[in-house]
């Protein structure tokens, strides 16, 4: 069983029982989804998995990482710089009723690493990850339980000509209790 097919079966089960686990690629898409709509998914060339941990304290902070599944057969290239917040990594915070109470707006940013250059990427061997800690001072939540959804896209960082990446997407949800 491939990693993707394993996720196809495991992720829905985990979702139902409320266990949070990393599932990728493609914002929760499954291998089944790709099989049904190959035209839509054909540009997704890499399986990338999102991970996140909320950091205790204020301001609102979280560590976000991309990983190459241990079962992968080749290195995975991801953007070296994942900032600014809201660009490669967007945040949505949902309350207990499922309403979005906060989300980042995509900022305009001027990259210093050329998307066409190898220097703009990190190559992850299978089982390895790459991440950074984000701080969002705009988040102000009332006490309660929330789902924090982190959504990754490689935007226009599609790799140098000799190593095209295609579109990368994944997302993850972390439970958060504000006291």
């Amino acid at each position: 069983m491939t990693y993707a097919s394993l996720l196809m079966y495991v992720c829905p089960v985990l979702a139902v029982i409320g266990v949070v686990a990393a599932c990728g690629p493609g914002s929760g898409s499954s291998a089944g989804d790709r099989a049904k709509s190959p035209a839509v998914r054909s540009d997704v060339k890499a399986d990338v998995t999102c991970h996140a941990w909320l950091v205790e304290g204020s301001p609102f902070s979280f560590h976000f990482a991309l990983s190459n599944p241990a079962s992968a057969t080749a290195p995975l290239w991801v953007p070296r710089v994942l900032e600014p917040l809201g660009a490669f990594v967007a945040v949505q915070i949902l309350d207990g009723a499922g309403a979005v109470v906060y989300e980042t707006n995509p900022p305009k940013f001027t990259p210093k690493l050329d998307p066409e250059s190898r220097d703009a990427y990190v190559a992850l061997d299978p089982g390895y990850s790459h991440g950074t800690t984000f701080v969002d001072e705009r988040v102000a939540l009332a006490p309660g339980d929330y789902d924090v959804k982190l959504i990754y896209s490689n935007l226009y960082f599609r790799g140098p000509a000799e190593h095209p990446l295609g579109e990368q997407r994944c997302s993850t949800v972390v439970r958060y209790s504000k006291r």
Binding site: G57, A99, V173
Partner: protein, 284 residues
């Protein structure tokens, strides 16, 4: 192997998460409720020209227009001048981290105005906040390292490197910088996002929102009832148009050769002239 080491963070509260799909209902909800819509104290005087009470901040926020007897046309014609509040900061220098322009969702205040036998809703003030984070390269990437405006001594320019500097800077007009950069280019680029692009889209959307809000009317018996009826509608109209403004703003190109890069090129060109003049004066 070039992967970055995994950092666990200070105190992990929860573990990895599994994502709902991109088409999940929660992912498509809007942020209407996140935009405040408090009504200010305001009054209508004279021919109906809106005047703001103290506490609203900028009393020049409304551009008054002559009001006809009915007041309906005036309600549409009394344009609010949006207030744009920019927080500009200079982050730690970095040769990888990007300079950014962030924009918050615009907010508004409004009021109920008497219009003949009925009521109308009128915007009183609109505010949009933004943040520019100027993240410059380390000083060795600038021909004139101090101060941060390319005006200082060209202390990093030498007989051996000035041609490379000029070439890099010229390339930098339209692509990601090489070894050399211009402070002004970054400044002008980010300010183009804020002043031309964001403010331009908000102003366009605001006119549409005001015109639509001006068409709202109520025959409620009291001002409070009219407010309860009209304010939610006005809020939705405002938020819908501001959302459209953001969509338009996000769609504006920010790739090499696009308008923000062209705007920043003016800073590069000025610095190139300085370097070339310096080399000439040194007879290099």
């Amino acid at each position: 192997m070039t992967n970055k080491e995994f950092r666990p963070g200070r105190s992990a509260l929860t573990g990895d998460g599994m994502a709902p799909g991109p088409t999940s209902a929660v992912g498509k909800r809007t942020l209407t409720e996140a935009l405040p819509s408090t009504a200010p104290k305001a009054e209508t005087k004279g021919g109906g020209t809106a005047k703001l009470d103290a506490g609203l901040g900028d009393a020049k926020g409304v551009e008054a227009a002559p009001m006809d007897a009915g007041g309906a046309k005036a309600a549409a014609a009394a344009r609010v001048v949006p207030k744009f509040v920019l927080s500009e900061k200079e982050g730690a220098r970095s040769n990888t981290k990007a300079a950014t322009t962030d924009t918050d969702n615009p907010t508004f205040t409004g009021k109920i105005v008497k219009d003949g036998g009925g009521w109308r809703y009128q915007l009183a003030s609109v505010e949009s906040k933004g943040t520019i984070d100027l993240v410059y390269y380390t000083a060795d990437h600038y021909p004139a390292p101090t101060p941060n405006d390319d005006s200082g001594d060209l202390s990093n320019v030498t007989k051996d490197n000035w041609k490379d500097i000029v070439k890099d800077l010229k390339d930098h007009r339209t692509i990601v910088a090489g070894n050399w950069s211009s402070y002004r280019r970054t400044y002008l680029h980010e300010h183009y996002h804020w002043e031309t692009e964001w403010q331009g889209e908000v102003k366009k959307a605001l006119i549409k929102a005001e015109d639509e809000i001006a068409k709202l009317s109520s025959a409620a018996a009291t001002e409070a009832d009219a407010k309860a009826e009209l304010e939610p509608k006005a809020t939705k109209i405002f938020n819908d148009h501001m959302r459209a403004a953001r969509t338009a703003y996000n769609a504006l190109p920010d790739t090499p050769g696009s308008a923000p890069y062209v705007a920043g090129a003016a800073g590069v060109d000025a610095l190139v002239k300085r370097v070339e003049a310096h080399a000439s004066s040194q007879k290099w």
